[in-house]
């Protein structure tokens, strides 16, 4: 019920954005977002609303912990599937 999915914003018109996930486009409301959204940003979408702009730096740092632990080779990163671009 508190499901939230990461979607990328493609267009913005006022409080409404078009966002995509795996080729599916959805209308997303920006009313409760506490930061300015720009085209290209990734947001967490819950019940049709963007509730958070994903922090790229924090996302990278969380994953970097694994590299610091010396567990992942750079190659293993390439097997993680496709990205929505």
């Amino acid at each position: 019920m508190c499901l939230g999915i990461p979607m990328q914003i493609r267009e913005i018109d006022g409080n409404l954005a078009k966002a995509v996930l795996s080729g599916t486009t959805r209308l997303v409301y920006l009313d409760v977002l506490d930061e300015e959204a720009r085209v290209g940003d990734y947001v967490i979408v819950h019940a049709g609303f963007a509730i958070h702009k994903i922090d790229e730096r924090e996302a990278r740092e969380t994953l970097d912990l694994f590299k610091e632990a010396g567990f992942l080779s750079p190659d293993s990163e390439t097997h993680t599937g496709h990205e929505v671009r």
Partner: protein, 360 residues
């Protein structure tokens, strides 16, 4: 998918499982509070990956599951009124009330529409100007701000045929009740990611500081959940009780203050009855008097029966982590996803539904 696939990476999963095993061999009981975490745990077989001394139990973080029978009955009472269009998230449809369900009412002619967002309900009100549209507001702190935004929008647009039945609940009071439950003895909480996107870390601090229960806010992919477990195990091993964020890409310590401000403007806290818990002080949200025109309870007479829980159903104990679905005599025999007796079998995030689907 960006921000998804990298958190499903099997190498990382193996690394975390090994790390958890190396950190401590103390027996620990951790509760995943959120129903979406329960689904991640079952779907990815996380319980089987973990060392045997780590027990995961499911908590009350499924809004449909914790809504009281009386709350469901009020929604049904509204659906039975002539001329009303009910707009609802889909998972509420099949939850049994004391006599019937919204789904049965729909088959008997009630006008009940499933919507994806509260804005869809608002658009229905614009489309059917001669009908009353009631949105069933259900959910935790993640969802309540989105509904507050739509109520504010309806006021600005001077829409007079739209209202909300507020069945919203706030999670921290339930967690407080759980840490005070002597039979339960939880060693750590895997805290809900998207509720925390809104509320930040502050509401969990008393759980850690007053009650000594470590809290880690987790994301929803398997790597997120395992990393949160590793962080909890580390805290427990070192005798610490802190609030930490694993899901840093989506949660900041201060949360989303704009969303909270909207929620606090439109709603005010009230005592609320949770299935399994009874009435918890300050654990619900009612519509504030300034927005009374959009309160379905003020607009319509929605007195409902205060019906009993179905006999034999253990949803209440399961929601408090005291029992597991196989402990229930109805589970799989009488209560199935096709014919649910209790709410925990209805929602896909319910503990019984997750057990039914994934556990053998």
């Amino acid at each position: 998918m960006k921000y998804v696939d990298e958190y499903r990476n099997p190498h990382r999963i193996q690394h975390l499982v090994a790390q958890i095993g190396k950190t401590s061999d103390k027996p620990v009981k951790l509760m995943e509070v959120c129903g979406t975490h329960t689904v991640t745990i079952f779907r990815n077989g996380i319980k089987d990956l973990l060392p045997g001394h780590i027990t995961l139990i499911s908590g009350p973080g499924c809004p449909v599951c914790v809504t009281s029978i009386e709350g469901i009955d009020r929604a049904i009472a509204l659906a039975q009124k002539n001329g009303i269009i009910i707009a609802t998230f889909g998972d509420l449809l099949r939850v049994p009330g004391s006599q019937t369900s919204l789904l049965k009412q729909r088959s008997e002619g009630a006008d009940i529409r499933v919507v994806y967002s509260a804005y869809d309900a608002f658009h229905l009100a614009q489309q059917y100007k001669d009908r009353q549209v009631v949105f069933l507001g259900i959910g935790f702190e993640t969802t309540a701000p989105t509904i507050a935004a739509v109520i504010r929008h309806a006021e600005e647009a001077r829409i007079d045929n739209f209202s909300v039945l507020s069945l919203h609940k706030l999670l921290p009071p339930a967690l407080r009740a759980l840490v005070q439950c002597p039979e339960l003895q939880i060693d750590g909480f895997i805290c809900p990611g998207h509720v925390s996107t809104i509320i930040g870390t502050k509401p969990y601090i008393p759980l850690a500081h007053e009650f000594g229960v470590p809290c880690v806010i987790a994301g929803f992919e398997p790597v997120d959940v395992l990393q949160a477990i590793a962080m909890l195990v580390r805290q427990i091993e070192h005798g610490k009780a802190r609030v930490e964020i694993q899901y840093r890409r989506a949660v900041s310590s201060h949360g989303n203050s704009k969303a909270r401000a909207m929620m606090e403007e439109v709603f005010e806290p009230c005592d609320s009855v949770w299935r399994g818990f009874g009435s918890l002080p300050g654990s619900g949200l009612k519509i504030a008097s300034r927005y009374a025109a959009f309160d379905a309870e003020r607009r319509f007479d929605v007195s409902a029966l205060n019906g009993p829980e179905p006999p034999g159903c253990l949803c209440g104990e399961i929601l408090r982590g005291l029992k597991q679905p196989p402990d229930c005599s109805l589970f799989r025999r009488v209560c199935t996803p096709e014919s649910p007796v209790g709410a925990c079998m209805v929602s896909s995030e319910g503990t019984c539904a997750a057990y039914y689907k994934y556990a053998t």
